[in-house]
Structures are given as structure tokens and as C-alpha cells.
């Protein structure tokens, strides 16, 4: 998660919402990514989706069975769907997302039987992950909406 936080900070420097993700298989980091929505003008380019795509490219397989995704922010609905579609086994995340998070805030959704095979561990390095998000949104407020 510390590495994911560092990646999130890299993303923030380019004006992105600071979310970082890494994918681990057999104790080895396969891929990492931060949000690229603004820089690539692409609403799909969330850290989780990019990390999944890169991991599949590296493994030559679109099934990421036995992989763990670490991400600094609770995934949104799209990213939880991508985690499901890619067969990721384990999700570890830091800060909760009260508005768009698909695990805690949309809890009706995560209790769907489709997600029963994914282990989920929330709140890892939560304080650091929350602090980073707050820092970002404070900067946006100070700058009148633009970083």
C-alpha cells in the first residue's frame, strides 16, 4: 500500500485525483498505475483499470486469478466490475469513498453473490490514504477548481 500511495502522489502532480493501484502475484508486483482520467481524457482510466490492463498484458492472460489488487481508495462501481471480470482474487484498499465507493457506500451492490469469491480487506493505511485525498481536494479548493 505504501507503493500504491507513492504512485497516487505521482498522479496528483499531473492534476489527477490521487489514486494509486498495484497488482501483486506470488509476492511480486506485476503492474502499477495511477488515475489518468484528466491527462488521457478518458473516464475509464482509473488506477485499478489501468493496473488490470497492464497486468493482463504482462501475463498474456485476461484472467488474473490468484492476483491481489492494492488500491489507495475504495473502488467505484466500474472498477469493482473490472475486478470481477478480470477474476482478481483479493482486493485491499485504504480510504473509503462515501460517495462512489462500491464496497462500503454501495453495500447493496457488494453483497451481490457475484462478488462472493473476492476477498476484501478495507482500511489498510487508511489514515495516510485519507490524508492524501484531503490534501488534493484542499488544493483544488484553494486554486478555485484547477490544480
Amino acid at each position: 500500500m505504501e507503493i500504491a500511495l507513492d504512485i497516487a502522489k505521482e498522479g496528483m502532480k499531473t492534476g489527477e485525483v490521487p489514486v494509486g493501484a498495484i497488482i501483486v502475484k506470488n509476492n511480486e508486483i506485476i503492474s502499477m498505475a495511477h488515475n489518468e482520467v484528466e491527462t488521457s481524457t478518458n473516464p475509464i482510466a482509473h488506477a485499478e483499470v489501468l493496473a488490470i490492463q497492464r497486468a493482463c498484458e504482462i501475463l498474456g492472460n485476461w484472467r488474473l486469478t490468484d492476483c491481489t489488487l492494492y488500491v489507495t481508495l475504495e473502488p467505484c462501481i466500474m472498477c469493482m466490475g473490472a475486478i470481477l471480470n478480470s477474476r482478481i482474487s483479493k482486493l485491499v484498499y485504504g480510504a473509503g469513498d462515501n460517495k462512489l465507493g462500491a464496497v462500503e457506500s454501495q453495500s447493496d451492490f457488494i453483497h451481490n453473490p457475484l462478488f462472493r469469491n473476492i476477498e476484501i480487506y478495507p482500511g489498510i493505511l487508511e489514515e495516510e490514504c485519507v490524508d492524501l485525498m484531503q490534501e488534493f481536494f484542499q488544493k483544488i479548493r484553494w486554486s478555485g477548481g484547477q490544480l
Copy 2:
């Protein structure tokens, strides 16, 4: 939807689950795509996601407000999340997907207030869309799992 069906058929020729999507703005087709999961080894490469990415690239904007997405199959959870994130206003689809569809089969999910601003029209050219899916899965069975 007829155009989306033609695109889905193109995808089927390459061994993909035959799903086709187009995005329309001001009565003009902005983008189109079929599934590319197998050919690109990418679990994110659903027709809807690819059509959204291409539309954003063409418009130079990740917000697809006032756009309509036509797709031959009921979107999965990932694609409904992508539709939400991209601010698409209207979804029109053909066949329902009893297993993974995020509108009809996962109805707890689509009744989430986050989706209240998206107009949804199911069952358009439903018979043709269902026939195409059935044709694909029959071919798979006949061929022992490989097209």
C-alpha cells in the same frame, strides 16, 4: 441497433462474444466497437467501454453528456459503472443477460440512486440480438469450446 448488430457480427468472426455498441450524439454516430477481450487479452475490452473511450477521444472530453449508447446486450456491472462515470445520458440495449446483466438480473444494483439520471430502454431489436448470442454459443458448443 441494426448497426450495432452488424458490428457484433464482425466481432464474432474474430472469436469474440458478439456484442456491438455505438455512441450517438445529435443524431450522429460518434464511435462504434465490438468486444475485443479475447483478441486483445484484456478483460476491460467490452464493446461499451471501447465505444466510450473512442467517443471521448473524438470529442476531446471524458464527459459524454447528451450521448446515447446503443448496445446489443445488457451491460455488465463494469460497463454500467463506465456508463455512469462517462455521464452518458441514455442507454438502449437489445438482449437481456440473465447471468451478468446489471440492469435486469442485478436489479438491486440499477435501482441505486446513482443511476437515476440515466434513461434506459431495454429490449430494442431483442429477438435479433438474442438470436446472435444463441448462434455464438451454439457454435462454441459444436466446436468443443473453440471457435
